[in-house]
């Protein structure tokens, strides 16, 4: 675990994750407000309001601020001539090593939110696994996809 993979994903990825966090928090807030209305009509204890508010605030703080930040800082990738190395994870850090020879195909994909931020995610598939790098600038992702597919074709089986 001494040296980390070199490249980080786009800074804009962090913004997108924050946005996802906000959407989730908004949905949660709607649910909590619903619970609040029920509390009002059925005369449930007053302190429940505080609980609802606390849930929204804690969830928001974690999923809008803290988790995206840790995830973004943790996310590293490196595409070398003969292998791809990935590192990601929130509580559990996962490092993955995929030899170029094993790569079968590479896809890039772009949802509406990612497109707005000019980002794309890139998926690398082997015969048995798929690995995704979540947020790269579109041009960069396309370039990387082309590079991986060239390298994968060139790479020779050593054993």
């Amino acid at each position: 675990m001494e040296h980390q993979p070199k490249n980080q994903i786009s800074r804009k990825g962090l913004r997108v994750w924050r946005l996802y966090g906000m959407i989730q928090t908004a949905i949660l807030a709607v649910l909590m407000i619903g619970a609040g209305v029920l509390t009002y009509f059925f005369d449930w204890p007053q302190w429940l309001y505080a609980v609802y508010a606390a849930i929204i605030i804690v969830y928001g703080a974690l999923f809008i601020y803290l988790f995206p930040k840790i995830r973004w800082e943790r996310w590293r990738y490196e595409v070398r001539e003969q292998e791809i190395e990935l590192q990601h994870g929130l509580f559990i850090v996962k490092r993955t090593l995929v030899p170029m020879v094993r790569v079968q195909h590479v896809d890039t994909e772009q949802g509406p939110i990612l497109r707005k931020y000019d980002l794309a995610e890139i998926s690398i598939s082997t015969a048995a696994t798929t690995h995704t790098i979540p947020a790269l600038i579109t041009a960069e992702a396309d370039e990387l996809r082309a590079r991986i597919s060239v390298l994968a074709r060139v790479a020779e089986d050593d054993v």
């Binding site: 675990m1 559990i92 996962k94 490092r95 993955t96 090593l97 015969a127 696994t129 690995h131 054993v159």
Partner: protein, 515 residues
């Protein structure tokens, strides 16, 4: 060029018919069953005149229809060989054609059912690398004679050789050899299951679960038809005889389920044989239905040796071959190389089948300080659970505490089992859920390696390592938990094609790479 068209054996019509019946058996049972319970049994059906006979009439019409469909399916099915392809034409209403190039055929699997055996026939499943649909082989010849099956195999060999010859010509090799029509090396029998092994297998197999769940499913299917009110009173009467009888009944039911599972296991694995020629392993088994599976060596991705605790005690183990491709959803997707054998019997055979693998490598074990990682987490979510049971069902609920030592002991056992071995080209991983599994993988078959570290593992310098190989249409994963961080680095370094990390690690820890 006129090709010879071949048909299936007429008995296929019968087999199609029986297969159709099998699919209809549940609806039939429901229709007739309902009538039986509803208006006073079967006799009522006949007393009501022609109206009572409607279900019977419909039933017979359906039967006749299924029979005719079976015959037409057989009539319509032809196959022939053309342009290095196996071509099949079939279909009940819509005529379908399927052309399979011989060089894409991975294996021909033979099955002999009870209809096949007296007539010397086989059912042939043709499997290709990318058999798409779930649980479906690329093509299935319901019943053909042995000679016909051999002819397909011969044509396939010829076609494959033909392709090789063409390639040789294209690549301009100086000496274009005469097509060497060498006979394939005869198959060699490596292992035949003994009666003792068969009995041990049958009696210790987990098949009992299957039978029980089948019974449960069966009961739930018909629960609406069972007159519970009538049964209820009898049950109350029955209960007065006390728990003893209830317990006894359950025991007898379990015993019967177990006996059935033993018999099924014996039927399925009777005369299990391993044969091999240069490029395939052939596995044959079965009493009533004889199955033959062929596995090409080049599709073997890894070997797994598994032992449940009971079998481990007596030194028995099961060996599975993880093989690429094949049809998913098929029960034979995980191919059992040894249903059950002593380690001492299987090792020589494995050695002969896969000579370049090391079957008894020295394992590096998990470090001592990681031992509590194996039960700590289970412990945490167990505590509220045990507390709740203890509280609500006091005092008997306190017996739930007994689960704690069990969890701890299992954790210690898992820690003791976990280990790995690295050789030049081979990675071996050993781990335990409840049963013990040992995975043997070649480096060039490993698709990816993951190393994970939780916050707590990082503090203690530990890491979990996971290796994925291809198996069936998907992947199979071997995972060892809570190993030394350096072990993880070593495995990554071994796996990395560019060897960057190896160079790096070697400088810092030269003594680890003295081989």
């Amino acid at each position: 060029m006129s090709e010879t068209y071949y048909k299936l054996h007429p008995v296929s019509a019968l087999i199609n018919f029986v297969k159709g019946l099998k699919e209809l058996i549940v609806p039939f049972l429901v229709v007739f069953g309902v009538n039986l319970f509803r208006d006073g049994g079967i006799s009522a059906m006949f007393n009501q005149g022609w109206q009572g006979l409607i279900p019977v009439l419909i039933g017979s019409v359906v039967l006749v229809f299924v029979l005719i469909a079976g015959i037409i399916k057989w009539k319509r099915f032809v196959y022939w060989f053309e342009d290095g392809e196996l071509r099949i034409e079939y279909g009940l209403f819509v005529k379908k054609k399927r052309y399979i190039p011989f060089d894409r055929i991975q294996s021909l699997n033979y099955t002999e059912g009870i209809f096949h055996r007296p007539l010397g026939l086989v059912k042939v499943k043709v499997e290709t690398a990318g058999s798409g649909k779930v649980g479906q082989a690329e093509a299935e010849l319901t019943a053909i004679s042995r000679e016909d099956a051999d002819r397909i195999e011969r044509k396939m060999e010829e076609a494959k050789r033909g392709v090789q010859r063409e390639m040789a010509v294209e690549s301009d090799l100086a000496a274009v050899e005469e097509p060497v029509v060498e006979e394939k090396k005869p198959t060699k029998t490596l292992y035949r299951m003994t009666m003792k092994e068969l009995l041990v297998l049958a009696t210790t197999s987990g098949g009992i679960g299957v039978v029980l769940s089948a019974a449960a499913v069966f009961l739930s299917q018909f629960s609406e038809l069972i007159p519970y009110d009538a049964i209820y009173e009898e049950v109350m009467l029955f209960l007065r005889f006390g728990y003893l009888i209830v317990a006894l009944t359950i025991f007898v039911a379990l015993l019967i389920a177990w006996v059935i599972s033993v018999i099924l296991a014996i039927f399925a694995n009777y005369q299990f044989t391993i044969q091999t020629d240069e490029d395939h392993i052939y596995l044959t088994r079965g009493l009533l239905e004889k199955k033959k599976v062929s596995v090409p060596f080049k599709r073997v991705q890894g070997i797994k040796i598994s032992q449940n605790p009971l079998r481990e005690l007596f030194g028995y183990a099961t060996v599975t071959v993880e093989s690429a491709g094949g049809s998913i959803g098929d029960k034979d997707e995980k191919i059992r190389l040894f249903p059950l054998a002593k380690k001492s019997t299987m090792l020589p055979v494995l050695q002969e089948l896969f000579p370049d693998m090391d079957w008894e490598p020295a394992m590096a074990k998990a470090p001592k300080r990681s031992i509590h990682f194996y039960y700590r987490l289970d412990f945490l979510w167990m505590v509220p659970f045990v507390a709740a049971i203890g509280y609500y069902f006091y005092p008997y609920g306190l017996f739930a505490l007994l689960i704690v030592p069990v969890i701890v002991l299992l954790g210690i056992w898992q820690h003791k089992t976990a280990g790995y071995a690295l050789a030049n080209r081979q990675l071996t991983m050993q781990f335990r859920g409840i049963g013990k599994h040992t995975f043997f993988m070649l480096k060039r078959r490993v698709q990816a390696i993951d190393v994970t570290q939780s916050y707590f593992q990082r503090r203690k310098g530990l890491a979990s390592i996971q290796s994925t190989i291809k198996s069936g249409m998907m992947g199979a994963t071997a995972r060892i938990e809570h190993m030394e961080k350096d072990d993880a680095s070593r495995i990554l370094a071994w796996y990395e094609p560019s060897g960057q990390r190896a160079a790096h690690t070697e400088k810092s820890q030269p003594e680890l790479f003295s081989g």
